[in-house]
């Protein structure tokens, strides 16, 4: 563990008068592929939003790439949950990717020719160059997810925070997305993703963060993604978990 890309120091988050995250202390190393794993309502999405400064912290602090999120915003790309997006919005794939440039454009400036070329290049990287003009609602779930990955690439970030990037995605697309993410890690980027499919954690990620309102464990997959710790994460309710952590049994947990 050399450098730290993202670290939480005693982070607590409250909705109304209920704590959804309590005293999270964790550090995610640079150039890693980190999965956040935990049951429904464990606060996985909230943890990502806390890192982005999108929810107020009741206690604690977050350090992003060695600074505050406000000072590092341009180095962070976020792929939100599908539910956050208005799929009926009249917008084409290329325009979605162009949104990745909005953060660095000045307040009244729109994207220009240079941004368009770059956006096409990003679409090409995820294999969707021929779909640039397609309405977002007319793309398949997997294609939509790849468009959002292209938007994240457009941001030119060093830290990628992804909320369920594989939701509603077929196996082929999942492989395609993983190839892009692995290439990003090769360039020194850090990827943190909320992940549901316990069966694939071992193959695809090198770091894991087990969460259930409190931090259960955080560390390399080989030492942290183990039966007993998963039992503690899921409260011992799912029998499949023991298999999922030891072998390639296809166990879907947490829905």
């Amino acid at each position: 563990m050399t450098e730290v890309a993202l670290s939480f120091h005693g982070v607590s988050v409250a909705y109304r008068s209920e704590l959804v995250l309590e005293g999270i202390d964790a550090a995610i190393p640079s150039s890693s592929l980190c999965a956040i794993v935990g049951p429904n309502g464990a606060g996985k999405s909230t943890l990502i939003k806390a890192a982005l400064g999108l929810v107020p912290l009741a206690a604690g602090s977050v350090s992003v790439l060695g600074g505050t999120i406000a000072s590092r915003r341009r180095d962070v790309a976020y792929v939100p949950q599908r539910e956050s997006v208005d799929w009926e919005f009249p917008i084409g794939a290329l325009e979605v990717v162009l949104m990745g440039a909005y953060g660095r454009l000045g307040i009244f400036r729109g994207p220009g020719r240079a941004e368009r070329l770059q956006a096409m290049d990003c679409l090409d990287q995820v294999g969707l160059a021929s779909f640039a003009d397609r309405q977002i609602s007319q793309l398949s779930g997997g294609q939509q997810q790849r468009v959002f990955l292209a938007r994240a690439l457009m941001q030119g970030a060093r830290l990628f925070l992804m909320d369920e990037p594989f939701a509603g995605v077929d196996a082929v697309t999942e492989d395609a997305i993983m190839r892009v993410l692995a290439a990003l890690r090769g360039r020194g980027c850090t990827i943190v993703a909320v992940h549901h499919d316990l069966a694939t954690v071992r193959d695809r990620f090198d770091h894991v963060l087990l969460l259930n309102k409190r931090l259960i464990a955080s560390g390399p997959v080989s030492t942290t993604f183990t039966g007993p710790l998963l039992q503690r994460t899921y409260g011992g309710r799912l029998a499949l978990i023991a298999d999922a952590s030891s072998g390639p049994a296809p166990g879907q947990a947490g829905g």
Binding site: L54, Y78, V85, P90, Y102, G103, Q155
Partner: protein
């Protein structure tokens, strides 16, 4: 009153022309702003705001004792923003669903406005009925000099509002688009999502007030929502939707006003009626077109994906 008649048609006078122009200006400026209400699923909030600005207007009457537009604009914009704020706060704190929270807010504020108007009526001539449906017919009688030409006051204000709307929309297109499509991502790149929302609500409230004297607070809702909702049925592109909405808004205003002159009835009411007919007709036409294309396999639509589209809750 503006004389002489500029046309040979005896039933279409210069006054009628100004009425028509005012209606088109009101309809287009409201229609453009309203596109964003439609896209953000806030049509009913537009309805709520247009009702709720009443106490702001009445308050301005009570304080100044005149019908000056500026104090009204200020009062109504404040109340408009308050409506959006109170509705969402009620949804969060009162655990009432969004529609009910808006219903509580706008009926209460509207009731307050009517009572305040009853008080103000001692000082200025005010008819609460006109507040609801406006009097487009009286617009040409109240003029101001603009560059040496006598122009109806309402038309001047609405022209200004339209210009401000277009400038704002062009300047903040990026913000509006990003925060409407994917607010979580927009916030993550540092766009101020709630500020954009607030700005939009203020613009809606201001437009409502400027248009309100001509078309009234209930009928302005049709001008806000119908052009955007109708245009959205016909196109999947944001740019064409905005252009189409402006065209639909202008056409509705022209048809409505002429029909009202012909039947000697309320122009604002007629414009709202025409808007509704246009919307329902468009739904029927688009649905019928889709059915025809389905039954004729050769003329089928561009490739649609098998993947089920996720619906937002």
């Amino acid at each position: 009153m503006i004389d002489p008649p500029i046309t040979a048609m005896p039933w279409f006078t210069a006054d009628d022309a100004w009425m028509l122009a005012t209606a088109v200006l009101a309809s287009v400026s409201c229609g453009l702003v309203g596109c964003w209400l439609v896209l953000r699923r806030l049509s009913l909030l537009g309805d709520a705001i247009s009702h709720a600005v009443l106490p702001g207007i009445a308050g301005a009457f009570l304080l100044t004792g005149t019908r000056d537009v500026l104090p009204m604009l200020l009062g109504a914009t404040i109340i408009g923003i308050a409506t959006a704020f109170i509705s969402s706060a009620l949804g969060r704190w009162g655990r009432v669903d969004r529609d009910a929270a808006m219903g509580v807010t706008f009926t209460s504020l509207f009731a307050l406005g009517v009572v305040m108007m009853s008080l103000a009526a001692r000082q200025v001539d005010l008819d609460p009925g006109c507040v609801l449906h406006g009097l487009l017919e009286f617009v040409p009688f109240d003029t101001v000099a603009l560059l040496g030409v006598q122009v109806p006051r309402a038309a001047a204000w609405l022209g200004g509002a339209l210009m401000v709307d277009v400038v704002l929309m062009l300047a903040f297109l990026k913000h509006l688009r990003a925060t409407s499509f994917d607010p979580a991502h927009a916030a993550s790149v540092g766009l101020r999502v709630s500020l954009v929302h607030l700005g939009l609500m203020a613009t809606v409230a201001a437009n409502t007030v400027v248009a309100f004297e001509a078309v009234g607070s209930i009928l302005v809702v049709a001008m806000l929502v119908a052009p955007g909702a109708t245009a959205r049925l016909w196109t999947d592109r944001l740019g064409s939707m905005l252009w189409l909405a402006a065209g639909i808004a202008a056409a509705t205003a022209i048809v409505g006003t002429l029909a009202a002159i012909g039947f000697n009835t309320s122009a604002a009411g007629m414009i709202a009626t025409v808007s509704m007919v246009g919307y329902v007709g468009s739904v029927a036409a688009v649905a019928a077109g889709r059915t025809v294309r389905r039954t004729m396999p050769h003329a089928s639509t561009p490739l649609t994906m098998q993947q089920p589209r996720s619906d937002r809750p």
